[in-house]
């Protein structure tokens, strides 16, 4: 899988991932009202608005980027109706040839992680038939439970040629509370990084492993160290733009070959029309504003590589 992602990063010349993390407050009034008109101010109405919003954005940007990262929480908050749109979004993006990274941060004891892995990346056996639940290409995973909570995800990736990004150093302000604490002189996230390398060693797919890492853009000094510590591990880098990470901060996430990282932006892309910079597009043309913001982000990042 990681080799497919790299192919697409090269062909688009864009180490960029669009975070499809819709909040109702990002969705233009005309889209919301139309959905509420059809389905009421209900979970179904909210889900429809999200779907219409996503579809317009995907249609506007799909040819510029290799991958999208829907954050499942933004759908899960609307219950079954929201998750139905999560699935529909995944299917639509895959049909467009986009690689879909499910941002679910799942992780549990072994048998439970196996169920998550089957439902999100793999297949479940029902009688004599194999069925697929959400079927994303790659998934984010939480490492707090240790090896037996992560291994079932790796096994499914190996069987199905899919990929993971395991949380190592997250982009949020309080990520350091536990992740930065020193254990035998090294921060916890470096110990997690060692494990990610170990977990991914048997899952090489070309020059990189199918087991990647989440490394926030907001802590460049740490990315620099992690990049050296995990040369064969692809980084999914959140935190660019709205969360405060700049292109300059990002450059340490990449290897000398210009590969090794894919940078995510969510709000900065999908709610671009709300920014002063893209205001002239108007809410009616929010998709075109998103397209321009992707073009600008790609140029911004390629500028420092």
């Amino acid at each position: 899988m990681i080799s497919q992602l790299i192919e697409k990063i090269k062909s688009t010349n864009a180490p960029v991932c669009a975070g499809l993390d819709p909040m109702l407050s990002y969705i233009p009034e005309h889209v919301l009202l139309k959905s509420y008109d059809s389905f009421g101010e209900t979970l179904e109405g909210a889900a429809d608005a999200i779907w219409q919003f996503n579809k317009e954005i995907i249609d506007s940007i799909w040819d510029l980027i290799p991958a999208v990262k829907p954050q499942i929480a933004m759908y899960e908050q609307f219950g079954i109706e929201g998750l139905t749109v999560y699935k529909k979004t995944i299917q639509y993006c895959r049909r467009k040839g986009l690689i879909v990274i499910g941002d679910a941060k799942r992780g549990d004891i072994g048998s439970t992680s196996a169920a998550y892995a089957a439902g999100h990346l793999g297949q479940v056996q029902v009688g004599s038939k194999a069925c697929r639940g959400f079927d994303v290409d790659m998934l984010t995973v939480n490492p707090y439970m240790g090896t037996d909570g992560v291994k079932p995800f790796v096994d499914v990736c190996d069987a199905e040629d899919k990929g993971l990004f395991v949380l190592v150093k997250t982009s949020n302000p309080s990520s350091g509370e536990f992740q930065d604490r020193l254990i035998d002189g090294r921060p916890l996230y470096e110990w997690v990084a060692d494990k990610v390398v170990e977990w991914g060693a048997q899952s090489m797919d070309g020059a990189y492993s199918n087991v990647g890492a989440v490394v926030g853009a907001t802590y460049p000094e740490m990315s620099k160290i992690l990049r050296k510590q995990m040369p064969d591990t692809y980084f999914l880098v959140p935190g660019y733009g709205a969360q405060g990470g700049t292109a300059e901060d990002l450059k340490y996430c990449f290897n000398q070959d210009g590969l090794g990282a894919i940078v995510n932006s969510s709000r900065g892309i999908i709610a671009a029309y709300k920014q002063e910079k893209y205001k002239s597009f108007g809410p009616e043309n929010f998709g075109q504003a998103s397209r321009q913001s992707v073009l600008d982000m790609v140029a911004d990042i390629n500028n420092v590589l």
Copy 2:
């Protein structure tokens, strides 16, 4: 919420929670075949079998226990169809007066955790209406992202009188890989425990906080220390029975007042009819086998308190 849980623990005299974590391999053949007959060997067929299985078990045990803990992964693996049964199970249990602990182990950056909290415990605003997604009473939460990943859950609990169990020391074999590593002479899980106490300090509901902790039954020496460290924190204790924890191991999870912990068993209850001990019930009477296993588990635990 925790005061309601305690009330129900006292009235049932059972500090026990049934883990509704159905795997297809736990479900008797006659239930599976009937569902496959109606819906085919599909996600819908699997979901129907899980629903029929859950319903029979809930009907057989609801009067004996205060709470159930459905593990969302076991439903999520069957995609939308599975999650629809997760929601149906929650609603059915709540109508029976059971407290429902959603075992979802969610946790992310602040805005994302806020979405999870709204969807699982609280409500989402859709236009002028407030809607509810899954609506459990209590939820398990992963602390790896630190305070800003947990705080949104606490806020919803405060607003809605609901509860949390934050992972401190999990029951799985590799939980020690990160959780037991020493930071300034104390294991990581003790530092997490300190934070759980801090996060829950403003959420007292009687003698205990609405912010509880997950403390595995499989590490009794650690429970002893955590019990002293977090006197006002309720423990959700997985790992009894099938995972290897015994009643003797559990006693350290309780305070002197006999309160402070609720012990979960999943496989041991819902797949009881498969055990040698309950084989005489036969697969046709799997609900009655579950009932007997609950009675035995309650007696076993009360014996050491």
